[in-house]
Symmetry: C2
Subunit: 409 residues, 2 copies
Amino acid sequence: MSRAGLLSPMETLAIGGIRLASVAAGIRYRDRDDLVLMALPPGAATAATFTRNAFCAAPVTVAREHLARADARFLLINAGNANAGTGARGLADARATCQALADLAGCVAGQVLPFSTGVIGEDLPVARMRDALPAALSGLREDGWAQAARAIMTTDTVPKLASRRFRLGADGPEATLVGMAKGAGMIRPDMATMLAFIATDAAVAAPLLQQCLEHAVAQSFNCISIDGDTSTNDACVLTATGSLGNAVIDSAGGDAWQALCEAVDAICADLATAIVRDGEGATKLVSVEVTTAASAHEARAVADAIAHSPLVKTALFAGDPNWGRILAAVGRAGVDGLDIEAVRIWLDDCLIVSSGGRDPGYREADGQQVMARDSFAIRVHLGRGDAQARVLTCDLSCEYVRINADYRS
Amino acid sequence: MSRAGLLSPMETLAIGGIRLASVAAGIRYRDRDDLVLMALPPGAATAATFTRNAFCAAPVTVAREHLARADARFLLINAGNANAGTGARGLADARATCQALADLAGCVAGQVLPFSTGVIGEDLPVARMRDALPAALSGLREDGWAQAARAIMTTDTVPKLASRRFRLGADGPEATLVGMAKGAGMIRPDMATMLAFIATDAAVAAPLLQQCLEHAVAQSFNCISIDGDTSTNDACVLTATGSLGNAVIDSAGGDAWQALCEAVDAICADLATAIVRDGEGATKLVSVEVTTAASAHEARAVADAIAHSPLVKTALFAGDPNWGRILAAVGRAGVDGLDIEAVRIWLDDCLIVSSGGRDPGYREADGQQVMARDSFAIRVHLGRGDAQARVLTCDLSCEYVRINADYRS
């Protein structure tokens, strides 16, 4: 599949003051980078959203705690070990890595935010991480994004990087936004096994930055589904360095705020799309769009039922316009008093279902033509009101099963 | 996998007055039976439960309607075509097959209950079914259960038959209960692509029979999950002929009622287990048992989160005790204020999780030993109250994807 909208990993990206280093710490993988250090300049504002899984990983607990200090200077990210399901030992390990970095960097442990992704339930190899920190600190550079995007991968097959430039109002300066993310399984609303790290050179007050991030995440990372599972480790971080020198954005409203929100929305959408495109075993990117629902909740329930259905997803894999499975998913979504006569379903612009069954004008060849595309939409009209929802999903392939059956062996 | 508790299809079963015929109508398959006619004796009481999918199939609508007459004489069952998503034409087709049978059999269409299973969205081949009816009528016989259990199969790999004898109270006569069912995908609480037909020679008043069936279905067919999808066609039918000559069971209470309920509960459990064992691509039968929950709803939510998780199910397929995925599923089940320190998780009797992480006494080899079994339990203790729930599930294999990607091609 093509990855339109994402920059080539070869391209050099930078946000003044944000420096990254990637090193091979031998956490799980051989012969590849698996530890990323991201240094933030003094005075940068940082916002984050985290998984809602009750069994959140130790680094999530510690990162939340340290974030509350509001003067984060380092993000310490490892791939291959999630440090989740590791109890009190896991918390101590996460704190120990922060302390080790703080000792070397001359800051306090509370200024380090830890992030981990990988296998759940194994103890974090703290000693190996500690040993790798000096090389990481000395390797920090502003053009380290592409290498870092590769180092945070687990079952991802491609790194996920996106950037955009946006003007802070008509006469404002041009700001830059750069982000990287990793997937690629356990993806579902409420964040998933994903990590995303985004930075801008604009100056933004921390509460506004958090508000901007939450809005963007709700529409992007929280609207994707690969397998319906929600991970213990998900986190999305947005840092604003202020190196651009703009007047600090400290209230919601105005052109600069609007431009920032639009840019953050867009980059989150780019990265979320990239995660689904690279979903474990995925061969197709499918947008499930539900309209004319009685409420947003109802629209989302229908979109989720379709996006999570293994039967729909195997049909997508087969390129088979088996619309009966879509209709069955709509029917079991729990919509109270659904009038099936009013429901219409399209594959892109091809109307397949009306009046409770196959549309009279539908031809199987037309459905097959849409399904053969790399990317298309399943559109559902409920005929009940004005609410809508959109969820991005992918197909379910043999490769998904193989990846997840083999991952630990 | 072994199919303990089920009778061999070779064994002859019978309920006095219930006659079955299976014929090859060419509905979808070549060279196999795909149409079953089941004749009920006059005066038999019949109860049924149906799918809750809003897009219920045409035969479900018609069977519900005809069942309300309370004098059903025939069940007309076809495999290969679901007659679902077929709109007004589907309803007319279902009625036309009932009428055709009624004309030949000398009854009214309202005494025929139609059932269909198979592909959604294709028109029912009414002419072929009508052509097959004379042979079906002349082939009716009391020992036709085994052949019928085979004729209603779609992606099932084995027929599902069960029977038991039970005494109607200490001094009562011995009654017989025989049932058959088909799966094997789109299985989930609220019935699924399953059909089940059960009969007894005991005399039972219709309202009591319905009550008895609903109780049994709630604990059996509504507690199984193969892929989390719910079909448009599910139905479970229980007929009581009264040929045994016992005093009609017409009130809830007493030894005979108790014995009937226990027997129906047991046969539904047998058939539900057989459906999961033969789940599409399934290699393992797994019982998810949640205890000490604050409410039955909460217990069920946790059990469902585990039973539906593709990541848990692929780990089951791999025989990999990847308990982190179980823990992650518990964590995302939406239990308000879950104390992860109190959660304990076992594989059969092997304690794997306590105090928020791997139990100190757990050894991977022990978990692997349990996972290597054909059948085992995932047991979760929440430490919040007295409620519990149990859901039967199976693993997710490459074969599941292959079956569902290929089913229509």
